[in-house]
């Protein structure tokens, strides 16, 4: 084989140059490769002939291989009808989940074409929102200041077998009547009176009664000179 047909007779260096020549001819070769080919062509008539042949091939293809084609009238409308039909079929088959997935793919593609710096900003903003939501959730679940308790709860403060209740006495009760009332259940005033006249009374719980809290509350509420008797809520 001769060197002209690019066959077995062509040496490896020339083969590497020849492999680049088509793109040297069409003007897309760049940088180091372009310079190497250009420098080589300055001194090699063999490769210059190949450039000429490639020019002729390219020119022939351009000049003779003309193909004139235009779409028929309404062609684009038919294409859009096909696209819409496919979209309708997909939505019908996918239901709400398919539509959701399609939306997700669309949004994801929009993210991909969004400039990087804007994407980073959006991610940082989203992370901040998540952090704020986490703080709010943590605060609410720790129960700080959000728990609402009523005075009529019957749990009372039952630490170490004792109950505390809040008592408001009538204005005309005597000190002797208060002492007798407390002594009957071994109660002690531990706090008060408050500005509203309420006393906090601590009482031992009796294990013999099936409802010791109820029994103690009945003891105070049944006295005609007790206006209020309610258990103190546990803190």
């Amino acid at each position: 084989m001769t060197r002209q047909d690019g066959g077995a007779g062509i040496d490896r260096f020339h083969q590497e140059i020849w492999e680049l020549l088509p793109w040297y001819v069409n003007g897309t070769l760049e940088g180091r490769e372009f310079q190497e080919v250009k420098d080589h062509l300055d001194t090699c008539s063999f490769c210059q002939e190949e450039v000429t042949r490639l020019h002729e091939i390219g020119t022939t293809i351009h000049a003779v291989e003309d193909f004139a084609w235009s779409p028929r009238p309404g062609q684009f409308s038919r294409l859009m009808a096909r696209i819409e039909a496919a979209q309708a079929l997909r939505e019908q088959a996918g239901g709400w989940w398919g539509g959701l997935r399609a939306r997700f793919i669309e949004y994801r593609s929009l993210v991909k074409v969004t400039p990087r710096i804007i994407r980073l900003g959006l991610v940082a903003e989203f992370a901040l929102v998540l952090l704020l939501l986490g703080v709010i959730f943590w605060q609410s679940s720790s129960g700080r200041g959000l728990e609402y308790r009523t005075l009529s709860g019957v749990t009372g403060q039952m630490q170490e077998g004792k109950l505390r209740i809040r008592v408001v006495f009538a204005e005309d009760i005597s000190e002797k009547e208060i002492r007798e009332l407390l002594a009957a259940v071994r109660g002690n005033i531990v706090k008060g009176p408050s500005p509203l006249g309420a006393y906090t009374v601590e009482l031992p719980l009796s294990g013999s009664s099936p409802d010791p809290v109820g029994a103690l509350l009945d003891h105070f509420r049944s006295h005609r000179k007790v206006r209020l008797a309610e258990p103190v809520q546990a803190r």
Binding site: D5, E19, N26, G27, R53, I61, W69, R82
Partner: protein
């Protein structure tokens, strides 16, 4: 066309902008129709193939990453569609020979004969190539792609592109100089 214009159109197509899609259609169908014809060598299926390419473009626009140029991506879709069509066509009878280019008042009888001879010779030469080699020749000389862009279109390593071109050119050199093509071009 500036590549930025194509990218802007693709972004609008992602947002299902039909006007942008139609603009892309009219911008690319002249090049794509010629490219598809030279790959499959049949005029009767060009419209169908072009529609297939544009349909895929519409559906796949959200997945275009922007790492390559839009033209490279579109020609890659067209290349794959053409290969599938060729696989289908291999099972069907061939198309009748294409009609000759219409004469004009300026064409003399010798010009007519010469152009017909050159066209027929080139057609036979290109038909002798594999579809993959034809694609490389077409994308290089007709559409001005770099070898790296061609590798993306065809989906193969750059060395494969160079090898296909090397053997395609060798084959064309064997077939074309037989009629002295280069001496007849004006």
């Amino acid at each position: 066309m500036p590549p930025d214009d194509d990218l802007a159109l693709i972004r609008r197509v992602v947002a299902k902008d039909r006007q942008a899609f139609e603009a892309l259609y009219h911008r690319y169908y002249p090049r794509l129709s010629g490219y598809l014809f030279r790959l499959v060598r049949r005029k009767d299926i060009i419209e169908e193939l072009l529609n297939d390419v544009m349909f895929v473009l519409w559906e796949s626009a959200p997945r275009f990453t922007g790492k390559s140029q839009v033209s490279t991506w579109i020609f890659g879709i067209a290349y794959r569609k053409a290969l599938k069509a060729l696989a289908r066509l291999s099972k069907k009878p061939p198309e009748p020979p294409a009609a000759a280019r219409e004469l004009t008042d300026r064409d003399g009888p010798e010009d007519v004969m010469m152009r017909k001879e050159i066209r027929d010779t080139l057609k036979r030469a290109l038909d002798a190539l594999s579809p993959e080699q034809r694609a490389v020749i077409e994308l290089t000389f007709q559409h001005g792609f770099s070898y790296r862009a061609i590798a993306e279109v065809i989906g193969c390593p750059v060395n494969t592109v160079k090898t296909r071109m090397f053997y395609a050119c060798r084959r064309l050199r064997q077939l074309l100089p037989g009629l002295g093509i280069h001496s007849r071009l004006g």
